[in-house]
Symmetry: D2
Subunit: 366 residues, 4 copies
Amino acid sequence: MAGSTFGKNFTVTTWGESHGKALGVVVDGCPAGLPLCEEDIQTYLNRRKPGSTRYATPRREDDSVQILSGVFEGKTTGTPISLLVPNTSQRSADYTEIASYYRPGHADYTFDEKYGFRDYRGGGRSSGRETIGRVASGAIAAKILKELGIEICAYTKAIGPVSIDMSRFDQDAITQTATGMPDRIASTQAEEYLSSCMAQLDSSGGIIECRITGMPAGIGEPVFDKLDARLGSAILSIGAVKAFEIGDGTAVASARGSENNDAFYTDENGVHKKTNHAGGILGGISDGDTILLRAYVKPTPSIFRQQETIGKDHENRSIQIKGRHDPVIVPRAVVVVECMTALAILDLVMENMTAKMDNLIDFYRK
Amino acid sequence: MAGSTFGKNFTVTTWGESHGKALGVVVDGCPAGLPLCEEDIQTYLNRRKPGSTRYATPRREDDSVQILSGVFEGKTTGTPISLLVPNTSQRSADYTEIASYYRPGHADYTFDEKYGFRDYRGGGRSSGRETIGRVASGAIAAKILKELGIEICAYTKAIGPVSIDMSRFDQDAITQTATGMPDRIASTQAEEYLSSCMAQLDSSGGIIECRITGMPAGIGEPVFDKLDARLGSAILSIGAVKAFEIGDGTAVASARGSENNDAFYTDENGVHKKTNHAGGILGGISDGDTILLRAYVKPTPSIFRQQETIGKDHENRSIQIKGRHDPVIVPRAVVVVECMTALAILDLVMENMTAKMDNLIDFYRK
Amino acid sequence: MAGSTFGKNFTVTTWGESHGKALGVVVDGCPAGLPLCEEDIQTYLNRRKPGSTRYATPRREDDSVQILSGVFEGKTTGTPISLLVPNTSQRSADYTEIASYYRPGHADYTFDEKYGFRDYRGGGRSSGRETIGRVASGAIAAKILKELGIEICAYTKAIGPVSIDMSRFDQDAITQTATGMPDRIASTQAEEYLSSCMAQLDSSGGIIECRITGMPAGIGEPVFDKLDARLGSAILSIGAVKAFEIGDGTAVASARGSENNDAFYTDENGVHKKTNHAGGILGGISDGDTILLRAYVKPTPSIFRQQETIGKDHENRSIQIKGRHDPVIVPRAVVVVECMTALAILDLVMENMTAKMDNLIDFYRK
Amino acid sequence: MAGSTFGKNFTVTTWGESHGKALGVVVDGCPAGLPLCEEDIQTYLNRRKPGSTRYATPRREDDSVQILSGVFEGKTTGTPISLLVPNTSQRSADYTEIASYYRPGHADYTFDEKYGFRDYRGGGRSSGRETIGRVASGAIAAKILKELGIEICAYTKAIGPVSIDMSRFDQDAITQTATGMPDRIASTQAEEYLSSCMAQLDSSGGIIECRITGMPAGIGEPVFDKLDARLGSAILSIGAVKAFEIGDGTAVASARGSENNDAFYTDENGVHKKTNHAGGILGGISDGDTILLRAYVKPTPSIFRQQETIGKDHENRSIQIKGRHDPVIVPRAVVVVECMTALAILDLVMENMTAKMDNLIDFYRK
């Protein structure tokens, strides 16, 4: 497979380019009987929609989702769910110049090397709009997980040098601030930082953190499909993500075993751990604790400064990018991280249902 | 699939437990006509073998590989290659106590929660010995890549607080030092640090870095099978890895676009980049530059100090682990990182052969 | 996966119900650089369109295909091709009665048992309209194969007791007769037979045969993905097909080895076989000869006679089906067989490109 | 994947050549907690063992299976089960001549065309011994299905012109007769027919039939993974099978709808069908009735008569095959059909456990 499909049990296949007729996704393997309407999905898509703040591109897309199949009388039928979002605001004229050179930090050059040519309009398939299919399908996965008691919450942890203070954590702020930060004070500081970046025709990187609560123990497979590996694969497949951590992440390298081990204990509510350096995963399998992951996102490569690069015929030249580009990718990618996490988790939640012989016997003999 | 298989084109399926009769791997999809003998594989297995230094467990395993199928008259036949390594040094008696409690930082608890019981001897399937199949099959992948001009080199970058100095890089040192460091001075310092950890009945984490050179541009698929995602999935599936980076990795979060973008330029040898913050991957596809990745490895969870935990019936208790355990996982995991990298790269190298219609026409019509 | 995806290299995922908003397919893995327009696909869809003769349902669908992604400036880009066919002629009112009972020979009962409920409008996902995605994507596969010199031709071999005479084979007749037969005399006889079936409120089964010419030797994988197994899987996944044959098919059971073996010989044009009982496949791999397969199709289960069955609450009752139903499935399924064959063949044609180490070396080192 | 793997949930990967060191299979996804010992598997392997009658090759193999992993204290652990059968009776000397020519009806030519060369000893990977891995893993699948109340029974239906009479059906005879027929009278006649074939240095084809009883309704996926398609794929992947039928099979082509439809009815035991032309499958999903399938097996291609063929350098020549060859493939293939059926059924039985949202809720919330 050419890699537009994710998941083995809850399988999503995305399609579409920035300036094609539409983008979309087909979900195969969604269990039957889930109440589902377009609004369930639209809520998630709205969170990645451009145009809401001055740190997001002024391009205006409705990004209205249509459910074309797989839902009947308000419930999923078990057959493939096809979701489509028309492209309504393509201004292809903006992009004709781009066809003539390779933008630094973009996939222009690598697409041409791989395929011989590319759809250069707005980045084509390598555009951020490619994430529409991820978010639309992830919204369904998140809804199913919620029914099972599993909640996923992603937010901006840092933009450039500005990090949130967890003691000020305010979940509502995630969708209310322009930055996706759950800390209004840090958000204001981050906005100031972004303004200075923009003034200097520059852009900023940042960090997205994601917590999964309500996880049962036992989710994840022991070897190549470890929960960490599947989550990592999901998150690292998002454009611009250059690092991924579980739990203490990179900090484990300088830790000692006596610091890093999480002690188990039992109280009247069951088994717990005194700490959670492991981020809720042991041996690739969930331990029942909160799962914690982080994605490190590079600065928007489209900056308005003059840059050195090569042209289509590999001649050296300098360029100045125009058009609509966010000074930071992170705020709009928060919901993408949340949705990719949902897809990875649900896939393994479904996989786990056949782990024990007793499960099969309970299902078929009772 | 229950996740013991990696890869779509060069597909490996590993099996085996620490104290079972043997461990092994089946490779399906290996191209026909590759010269291959047991020595090609044994060389790699020897690099992960225990017992070579005082920082590795004194358990002695020959870990001798046998090729059971798929090779005829010294060449691969295109049919599955079955590789087997007998377990020869099982001292199961050491592990009977472990059956009665859940070790902190280990998969004991999660396996029991998932499957209802576990093979507790030496960690069973969650043992480090599970990597034998990865290394044996990765050795074949690495040999194929070498024939295509692609070389992979992994090494220890840091142990606890001790990091290598790249100006002292000495490739021979990787396999000659006890630490896997390519810097003999840092290696000596790291050994001292490990000695102090051991004296304190403690263990240390560390960092493994890996470079892939000779990569053609165009390898990797644009969406879910981005080269970064597949490499991340491969590396994060290795036990004890808690973070993964490509290129500048976590540092991109605090970088600006003007710093992070790599400028393209052309000289008489072709297209290059002035810097390589991207780690050789743009939009999930190799750009022809060196690929650089890092794995962050947690400290060995088996430490000899007294630890708090729970017993099999979830009762609170304290334990003291005995047996044979390395004070650091990193040195023996270097070759595992190298081999998982080879598996991920080769799989996408094969995938890429059908990217263009011209490729099919060249193959079938000429 | 829930089985709406076919193929590993040229991967198609179909979606859509008879009376939903649309039906469609996503093709992932189509090589870049293939000239492709909607007309290429429409030509195939027109061959399965209802309404062309009195043996096909009078329901009128335009079945106009739209290419939504993956094609830029008239050529495939290597990214997913999304094809959509709107449903324009749904008369849901016709089908409300069907909700109340289980039609014999249909999937009504099994869908309800599996999913708890079903989209009962026109058969929902089990409708013959489900094949639209197969045909649309198969048209692309067939176009690629044609570029490689491989041609696929399916036709009606028999309807009820009426079989074609191969000595009268006339390829043009396949698309010109109402039956899909390449023999105008047999076609007329078959039409008479169908008229008598209709007069008796009954329906007829039939046989579709398919020939693949221009096949290179070496296509197919030796064990589970034998060319016969993949073709069988493709054809048996078409609704109403109850038997599948390669070459001499069922006749081999009563043959002797001396009759069934095909003798190889060489002449100035290369290697040939004196006979082709094997149908062009030996050991699961193409031998360079014409591949010959047959699909046996059951009679349309929707007949207008009174039938015994059960209602939704499992009460015994009798029913009389109304609406629009062909008296035979075969003529419209001819193009479906052709397209599924194309999908299976192309997938293995692509798979075969990595069979030899020399192939990789030629591709990457030259 | 190169096609040595079957199944998505209960996944088996076979390996090994006729004259290599061993053959085997890795089973991934076997639920934990199934009691399993080598005897469970050996029983099935003994049924395909050569040497039991004069219609089977005198080659003597113990074919003793070893469980190398995945079983602990007599129960499956949920991790991969590696099964190995050593080759003990290789007489490679017999086969050296074969290297110089291409046997009619064999895969010699196609392997050479695909891979450039082949392991010619005893047919290598295309030998009937390749089925050892299928039978060993199928034995486990059959044991699981039995626990769920699903029983699979295959038997020889015909050899050449001799067919069984179902009114004399005697299940014990299947393993007691030399032919695998459940009818002792027909078996004696078939033996006579085979003796005459042998006297004429010839071989015979035949038919294997298989019944699956105790099937719950709802197994199978609606489109490409229809139960018929998966069963067909499983059976057609067995060497020498040239046709596959479900239920009435090829006979549906000449049937009318009024004859072919199976009427549903309800009695005090639930829902039934008055007839079973459909062979227990409607719309690709089991309907709760007995599943009935048939495989048509070609005559052994290795016959002792002089045959025309080509040599390694494509020169025309005639050959006379020596060595050990059964005059009919069918009797030893009966257990292979049974085991491949078990693998296909179990895979879909597991897949079905996530078909409904209620299933997930029952599993995770109760």
